[in-house]
Amino acid sequence: MIAILLSVYATAYLCAALRERGRRGWGWLRIASTLAGAGVGVVALAPPLAAWAVHDLRGHMVQHLLLGMFAPLGLVLGAPGTLLLRTLNVGAARRVTKILRSRVVGVITHPATAVTVDVGALYLLFLTPLYAALHTRHALHDFVLLHFLLAGSLLAWAILRPDPSPHRPTFAVRTGALIVAIAAHSSLAKIMYAYGWPRGTHHSLEEIRAAAQIMYYGGDAAELLLAIALFAGWYRARGRAARRSRAGGQPMASGIPGAPLRVRA
């Protein structure tokens, strides 16, 4: 189900992006990152991995990492919102912009909300009987996988902001949210390792500990990529600001100590 959703999304994105290339242009890197993100998501749901994940916590953890952390990063770096606004006609684009401006969207896409919804749900899943319940209820299992993908994408988007966003928090707030997300994720992995969660399942302690280590180190890799994407955005924005101020004959803002970090990334 989710794999079909991802395939449809990737196809639609590709069609819109290729059309945009013929008009105002659209970068290959964005296309590649979207296809890679969708591809990673589909791999996470492919039969061999899905079958492993059903009975083995390590398999489930690999699924969580791919679907909830790596795939979202690729999808978000594709700047889907920008492509959508460019593809829609003027009237529809205005309506979408109006929705984006609303306070509700501002609250939902705030990094604090995103961290809570994404990492908070992992605490709920692994430190309560919820995980044990997944084995008997298939609909719940599918819902959890969909939540990984959507909440992970929300978090990556809330931090990276690749699209025009009226409620864009400062760079410091987004960096702080990233630190909190990494801290919460790696602490959860150690809590699971130390106290043997999730309990009430058939998983042995060795299996839980191996899964917790996959979660810790795999999460590190994904978060390192997220941090690189965040600071690369800052670096590019500084370069643009410097070129603008040179073109305008103004002294570079970066010459003033303390001011540089305020540049919007």
Partner: protein, 157 residues
């Protein structure tokens, strides 16, 4: 040395390299002592719950700090505002500062983990913290030299 953008930025050169120093020392700690030697453990039974949470925060800061350091340094270089001696001073002070912090706060105060298990810890602790002081010493000497150079440059211009 000063490029078309004009002024050097010793402070940003220092702090960007300081962040890289902290991040690299943390990385060396993870790779050598945890993975290669297997002296440290992923989790130490004696670690209190509070220790786990603070360990998580520290880990997150380390990860972000090394990435931030590299991009800040790249930015100072792009502006032609980079001062190498200041940067090396920052690197050694960052690396030594992290090592000392790890040796005193993480190992002794928070008791997150020890350097090695099943051995007399004292020589290990001494070696660990003395190496930290040596790194800090190198950093301090470089910082003094960098400051001297900046003063003489300021007085000649």
């Amino acid at each position: 040395m000063a490029g078309p953008e004009g002024s050097l930025d010793p402070s940003r050169s220092f702090w960007s390299a300081f962040m890289i120093g902290v991040g690299i020392m943390a990385g060396v700690d993870t790779i050598i002592f945890h993975q290669l030697l297997g002296w440290h453990h992923f989790y130490d039974r004696a670690t209190p719950a509070m220790g786990l949470a603070s360990d998580g925060i520290l880990h997150a800061v380390e990860l972000v700090v090394i990435v931030a350091g590299f991009f800040l340094l790249a930015d100072v270089r792009r502006r032609n505002a980079f001062t190498p001696t200041r940067a090396w001073a920052g690197f050694f002070l960052g690396a030594g500062g992290f090592q000392l912090f790890d040796g005193l706060v993480n190992h002794k105060v928070l008791r997150l983990h020890q350097i090695r298990y099943g051995v007399d810890l004292l020589p290990y602790d001494v070696a660990w913290n003395v190496s930290a002081l040596m790194l800090l010493g190198v950093g301090a000497v470089l910082l003094k030299r960098a400051r001297g150079r900046e003063r003489s440059r300021a007085s000649t211009t």
